[in-house]
């Protein structure tokens, strides 16, 4: 489903060129859950930006369901992302002036699809059916992350990108959130790429990759 070959990405900082990704390879099959382990500053955020189509690489190829992302225009990548890729952020990133239901409806509204019933169901799936009209400011951290999960899953994406989804939460809440994510991807057959620094969490995925020195090393292969 996702194939990355020799991906390179660098940034210019002052007069220097900083190579972040130095020829990265990755292959994810449909329904696979993959963890990417890496320390702070290893390039995880850069990789996620590229996977989400928010940024483009300097070299290499990245294809999603046979379509090369580098050949798409910004608008085409945005459209693809809206239809097929869900993203969960460490900082939740909900729109503060929209309530839970409205935040979750957004991806479907953007696609012009029916959204009322679907959004309600998505929130019920994450256990927030009773908090539809509450604003992000009125929710706890765990609840906000669950709204973000519902938003990411509502359009039934092919791929879910999760960037340290429990990173801003306490241990117990974090565990609940992760359980929810894994159960949803299993239920819907969604592929998952989970970026984390937590080794234990990473082992819960079917494959584990380590990002170091700008490249990915496969540690655990998916069965």
């Amino acid at each position: 489903m996702l194939k990355i070959q020799n991906l390179k990405k660098s940034f210019i900082q002052g007069e220097r060129e900083i190579q972040v990704l130095k020829g990265l390879n990755l292959e994810i099959k449909a329904g696979e859950t993959a963890a990417i382990l890496g320390t702070s500053g290893s390039g995880k955020s850069t990789l996620l930006s590229l996977l989400a189509g928010i940024d483009t690489s300097n070299a290499g190829d990245m294809s999603f369901q046979g379509v090369s992302l580098n050949k798409l225009s910004e608008e085409e990548r945005t459209k693809l992302r809206g239809e097929k890729i869900g993203i969960i952020f460490q900082q939740f990133h909900l729109i503060p002036h929209l309530n839970a239901l409205e935040n979750v409806s957004l991806p479907l509204e953007i696609l012009g699809r029916p959204y009322q019933k679907e959004s309600v169901k998505a929130l019920e799936d994450v256990g927030l059916g009773h908090r539809l009209d509450h604003f992000p400011g009125q929710l706890s951290g765990g609840e906000k992350q669950r709204v973000a999960i519902a938003r990411a899953m509502v359009m039934e994406p092919e791929l879910l990108l999760a960037d340290e989804p429990s990173g801003s939460l306490d241990e117990e809440t974090g565990e609940q959130v992760m359980k929810l994510i894994f159960s949803l991807v299993e239920k819907k057959g969604t592929s998952l790429i989970l970026v984390t620094h937590d080794e234990e969490l990473a082992r819960r995925c079917s494959s584990v990759h380590r990002l170091q020195n700008g490249c990915l090393d496969l540690e655990v292969e998916a069965q």
Partner: protein
């Protein structure tokens, strides 16, 4: 979906939306009020236009109107069944036992037909009774006159001598529909019989008589009919007046006032724009995360742009509606106030045109100001949402300056529209933008100094200066709005003072006491002898003529309405006769600008064509330059001359002067009267002299210049109050902008303030810090504003007026004090809510 998101953006960001909408409302208020005033005033004039003229159309001239041409006009323009009333007007002196004064005589010549009446529309009320028009009327009895109340207040109710005859006062005119709007009239009216005027010897060669024919038309008169009429009359010394033209003439002073008020209201609009710019920029900066989130869930950049365009359209729409609603509440109050100040009552009407203008400006202005900000915000590279630590910090939106060009063009268009003048509108805009652009680097410079001054200073001073520098855009926005408001508050009174100083009679003033006219040619020697102890100033011949050609091109009477004030002035000057004179030297009130002084009396061999000197502004209005050939018609006799110099005249010297002067030896034999001024003397002396003058020379008219000056000053005072009121409105808008920006900034600094509390800073200390910041801005802004007010008043006085520039320290010092005090209270108010937030909220 995008509209729905835009509505939600408005509904769910209440404090930003409220501040933004109120800023739009306050910015539009002045503009709508002035536009409404213009329409109200025009409505009154239009409704009373016919009453003002008293007829459907009138013909007037300083020469008797050709009978055949008049018949042709009646036959082809107004219809065979039209009724005509003839009237003569002239200035003369009237004398009672105790004193004398200049009066404006209206001599009525009515026939036997009961339809011949005056006026045809409107009314004359004598002793509280409506006399005209009605079928059977009576003129004043032979030997009696009807007078305006001012005549009796100075001359008493006893008999008065006019010309060589004595008249009794048969009635006091208590209301005259033709007099309602005249401001600054220096000679009260007296109505008398035509035959009495002849018998009193008032109609003499050279008397300042104007001949009128008032016509009640039997047919409807169209514009084409009027154009036909102009061609039939074919004489630009004959003025054809319609009710519309007549009302325009009457309303001219107030039209100029409302033009300037319109310009001042644009300053208020600009100040509000400064506030709106800052608010929206900050709002968009804080929305960067939302932009990134929208992008991450599939909303394209184009659609994000579209969302915020819809957002700003809605804000402009609702803000404009709010502005119109506020205006409709304020209009009745303003109209009531103006009714005390003006000599008539303004109707309380809500002008659709004014509201449309307000609505258009609100929507278009807000859109043009904000769309570059939206463009810049959505052009920013997608922010990385994949951050390990903390949320995205707000990043300031930086905007390409070229995108503000449409707004600048729009604002320039508004300035020209408001002032009805390309010249005035452009100059105003140029001065105003020049000040704004100069102020910004000054502000940045002051911030640098403040930063340096804070090193080693106390904590709250240091923090104040740091915050001023940190929130630079907010600091500059507040600084600019206070500066411009202060500048205006100083500019208007200083201009008024300079003009007043020029024309006020004071002990050291050289202004003459009397201005004499209607001096017959044969009286000059005798008059010189009469004034041998106090010689006359500027004794000048006065010859009537008209310009028939400029550089061999006929000067035609314009009937089309001019678009600008300059165009209207040019038309007036083209459409009327010219007063000519001759003199070989310049007087003390004249300065040569171009060309050479006359070489002496006319010599055909040396000079070729007779040489002409032209006043510079008159030349500009008619497009006449050095070397141009001008042909005149003087009592039907053509005379060609050439412009040999251009001069500047200080008209406020009240010394006789003319737009066009020939060298001597050209017009010496032309029929003429003379003008002169009498040097300044004490009030009692003037009255004695005036009475004696009347006894010896009853035909000579004398204008008491102190009375004229007083009338002008009264009018200026009234206008000055209106302008000052509008300037206060601008300053109020400036303070409102200050409050909006201060509140917004306080909100942004809320957590900083709470943190300072956590680490031990008391509420009082925090308040001192905030107040000091805003008072600092207020002090420097008002100081600089006062400085610019002084500078701009100097420039304007020299560009548009010939007046002496005078400085007064009252307004600069006063405005600085007022601004500082108001800044104190505004800062206190804006920070009150934020300072009440408890330190414990930091821990949740």
């Amino acid at each position: 979906m995008l509209w729905s998101l835009a509505f939600k953006e408005i509904k769910r960001n209440k404090s930003f939306t409220a501040l933004f909408l109120v800023n739009v409302m306050v910015g539009l208020l002045g503009l709508v009020l002035i536009e409404n005033f213009k329409v109200s005033f025009q409505t009154v004039l239009d409704a009373r236009a016919k009453n003002l003229l008293g007829a459907d159309v009138s013909l007037s001239s300083r020469f008797p109107i050709d009978k055949d041409k008049k018949s042709q006009f009646l036959k082809n323009v107004t219809g065979d069944q039209s009724v005509v009333t003839d009237l003569m007007t002239m200035f003369s002196m009237a004398k009672s036992e105790k004193s004398s004064r200049l009066v404006f005589l209206n001599t009525l010549k009515l026939g036997d037909s009961p339809e011949m009446t005056y006026p045809f529309y409107g009314h004359l009320e004598i002793n509280g009774r409506d006399l005209f028009p009605r079928p059977s009327f009576a003129l004043p009895d032979a030997g009696s006159v009807w007078v305006y109340p001012e005549v009796t207040s100075q001359l008493g109710k006893g008999p008065i001598k006019i010309g060589s005859k004595t008249f009794s006062i048969a009635g006091i005119i208590t209301d005259d529909s033709q007099q309602t709007f005249e401001m600054g009239s220096v000679a009260p009216k007296i109505y008398m019989r035509h035959d009495d005027a002849l018998a009193a010897g008032l109609v003499q060669k050279g008397s300042t008589i104007r001949y009128y024919s008032f016509i009640k038309s039997s047919d409807v008169i169209t514009k084409m009919d009027l154009e036909k009429g102009v061609k039939l009359i074919d004489d630009n010394a004959v003025v054809i007046s319609t009710p519309k033209k007549s009302s325009e003439q009457v309303g001219r002073v107030l039209a100029y006032l409302s033009d300037f008020l319109g310009l001042v209201s644009l300053v208020a609009l600009f100040l509000a724009s400064v506030g709106l710019f800052y608010l929206y920029r900050s709002h968009l900066s804080s929305k960067r995360t939302s932009f990134a989130i929208f992008s991450s869930i599939g909303l394209s950049r184009q659609n994000i742009f579209g969302l915020y365009i819809r957002h700003i359209i809605l804000l402009g729409f609702f803000g404009s509606l709010l502005g119109l609603a506020a205006s409709s509440l304020v209009i009745p109050l303003v109209n009531q106030f103006l009714s005390y100040v003006l000599p008539f009552e303004l109707p309380i009407l809500m002008s659709p045109r004014a509201f449309f203008i307000g609505f258009l400006v609100g929507n278009v202005g807000v859109f043009l100001l904000s769309y570059p900000l939206i463009l810049a915000a959505t052009r920013l590279a997608p922010a990385s949402l994949f951050q390990e630590v903390a949320e995205l910090r707000s990043v300031q939106v930086s905007v390409g300056k070229i995108h503000f060009l449409p707004y600048l063009i729009f604002f320039s268009g508004m300035a020209i529209y408001a002032s009805n003048s390309l010249k005035v509108g452009s100059t105003f805009l140029g001065l105003f933008l020049g000040v704004a652009l100069l102020s910004m680097p000054v502000c940045f410079f002051l911030l640098k100094i403040a930063q340096k001054a804070s090193i080693g200073a106390g904590l709250s001073f240091k923090l104040s200066m740091r915050y001023l520098n940190r929130y630079r855009i907010s600091t500059v926005s507040i600084f600019l709005s206070l500066l411009l408001g202060s500048m205006l508050l100083n500019l208007v009174p200083m201009l008024q003072q300079s003009i007043q100083a020029e024309i006020t009679l004071g002990e050291s003033s050289k202004l003459p006491s009397l201005f004499l006219f209607d001096i017959q040619d044969e009286q000059v020697a005798q008059l010189k002898s009469f004034f041998k102890e106090t010689p006359l100033i500027g004794l000048s011949p006065f010859i009537r003529g008209r310009i028939s050609k400029i550089n061999d091109e006929a000067v035609e009477v314009e009937t089309e309405d001019a678009m600008t004030r300059e165009g209207q002035r040019e038309q007036r000057f083209r459409n009327r006769g010219t007063n000519l004179s001759y003199r070989d030297e310049l007087t003390e009130s004249e300065t040569l600008l171009e060309g050479k002084p006359f070489p002496g009396a006319y010599d055909e061999k040396r000079d070729g064509l007779p040489l002409i000197s032209i006043e510079n502004r008159y030349a500009q209005r008619l497009g006449i330059k050095l070397g141009d050939k001008l042909e005149f018609s003087i009592l039907g006799v053509p005379l060609l001359g050439q412009v040999s110099n251009v001069r500047k005249v200080r008209w406020t010297s009240f010394i006789p002067n003319f737009f066009l002067q020939f060298q001597s030896g050209v017009l010496d034999d032309a029929p003429k009267t003379w003008l002169a001024s009498v040097p300044q003397m004490g009030k009692d002396k003037i009255m004695t002299l005036q009475n004696k003058l009347y006894e010896s020379f009853p035909n000579i008219s004398a204008v008491d210049i102190s009375r004229v000056v007083k009338k002008i000053l009264d009018v200026m005072r009234q206008m000055g109050w209106a302008l000052k009121a509008m300037s206060f409105l601008c300053l109020s808008v400036g303070f409102f902008v200050l409050y909006s920006l201060a509140s917004h900034q306080m909100n942004a600094r809320k957590m900083d303030m709470v943190l300072l509390k956590v680490i031990g800073m008391g509420e009082r200390q925090l308040r001192t810090m905030v107040v000091r910041e805003f008072m600092g801005i207020g002090f420097f802004a008002s100081f600089l504003g006062a400085g610019f007010g002084i500078l701009v008043s100097y420039i304007v006085t020299h560009l548009f007026f010939d007046g002496l520039w005078q400085i007064s320290l009252f307004w600069p010092i006063g405005s600085i004090l007022v601004v500082c005090v108001l800044c104190y209270f505004t800062a206190w108010l804006a920070s009150a809510k934020v300072l009440k937030v408890k330190a414990s909220s930091f821990l949740s």
